[in-house]
Subunit: 209 residues, 2 copies
DNA sequence: TAGATTGTTAATCGATTAACAATC
DNA sequence: TAGATTGTTAATCGATTAACAATC
């Protein structure tokens, strides 16, 4: 067998969380962990942990638990994180800077190869050794270099146009921080990170506890 | 009746998305919309839209649809967004700057009243007129001002300690961008925004399409 | 061996969708 | 009136949990 059966969407969204926590355990020198301990630490049930891990062959030992390193590698392999993807950042504001400066992204297989801003004020400046370019340069840039993902950090409705441009330029993945709603199509995969949506849920929970 | 029956957790997480889209429609001058159109635009089913709206009395008209303004206000009211919450930002790096500079947060009922950084290099500088303070100042600050939410923008495992401090200082809500796993307890409500988790899911989807 | 913990299946739970009478 | 669309219920789907034989 390769994988037990089709992994659920919900389980896939949990994998990065497991991975992150396993990295933390690794750093703390913990080499072995049971589904019960792990589930307690990250706030799910142990059943769920075992079920999720069974998808990619967690290789736990009855009576013992899981080997942290092995599990970490299995998830890494499953997510194909060693297969690096090239990313450009659209928008050189604070959020664009934050993404460009985040070393974790490269560790997890995402390489920032360009930063573009619609306003000229930033042109020529650098973030982490990567020059900020004008949007006009983008079509040629994409022709010359392979771009997998565009991170949209333009926080206005204006992002609408820019996202359409990205898609027509052939970018296959959009990491969208703008307030615009975008849907998956057969041409493009979207991952929305609407930061204030998550804050609003927190607000609701605080007000209704 | 106040609300039809207990709203589901999944539906609550969709409300900010509806709200955001209704704001966009409003700006575009659209005053009326059917569940079918709306569902198409944001990528859900029309059944789900009608079911979700029924929770807070969407007041749609058969044959016509929903009034955009009315619906927007209903969601706003349901989420109690006019009831402002005070937020502090921990970490004055690019991400901290991005949150402090984001005008949408205030519009949605979150007011940044302080910024703190564990490193002295930023002390005394300002973001949007708010002075960056040392972490040492935090206990007194919290004694004097009411703090509802701490946004943790320290992107290292070191955030662990800081989050514990926040909780012991009595902060009731944590908006967590750090790689540390934190769980809700009866003392504190957590909302995690693990940015690279969402990017990893995008990577997975791109590689397996 | 005794105790702990796995992998897996069946039972449960919750969320989504389909369908349609009511009504603008 | 005819057409469109709602609100709501029942049916379906998918995800989570409980349980336990197998096994370290």
């Amino acid at each position: 067998m390769e994988y037990r059966n089709e992994i659920s969407y919900a389980a896939i969204r949990r994998l990065p969380k497991y991975y992150r926590h396993l990295c933390n355990l690794r750093k703390a020198g913990i080499r072995q962990i049971s589904s019960k301990e792990l589930s307690f630490e990250i706030g799910v049930t142990s059943s769920q942990v075992r079920n999720d891990f069974a998808y990619f062959g967690g290789e736990g030992l009855p009576g013992i638990g899981y080997n942290v390193d092995l599990l970490k590698n299995k998830i890494n392999e499953f997510l194909k994180s060693d297969n690096t993807l090239n990313m450009i950042i659209i928008g050189a504001g604070y959020l664009g800077h934050a993404l460009a400066a985040n070393k974790n992204l490269e560790k997890k297989g995402f390489k920032v190869i360009g930063i573009f801003d619609p306003y000229d004020q930033f042109t020529g400046r650098e973030i982490k050794g990567i020059e900020i370019m004008k949007m006009d340069c983008l079509p040629l840039f994409i022709k010359r270099q392979h771009v997998d993902i565009a991170a949209i950090t333009i926080l206005s409705a204006h992002a609408d146009e820019i996202i359409k441009d990205m898609i027509s330029l052939g970018v296959k993945g959009i990491w969208n921080f703008s307030p615009v709603e975008v849907k998956n199509t057969d041409k493009v995969m979207i991952e929305n990170s609407h930061l204030d949506d998550s804050l609003m849920v927190l607000g609701y929970n605080l007000k209704n506890k």
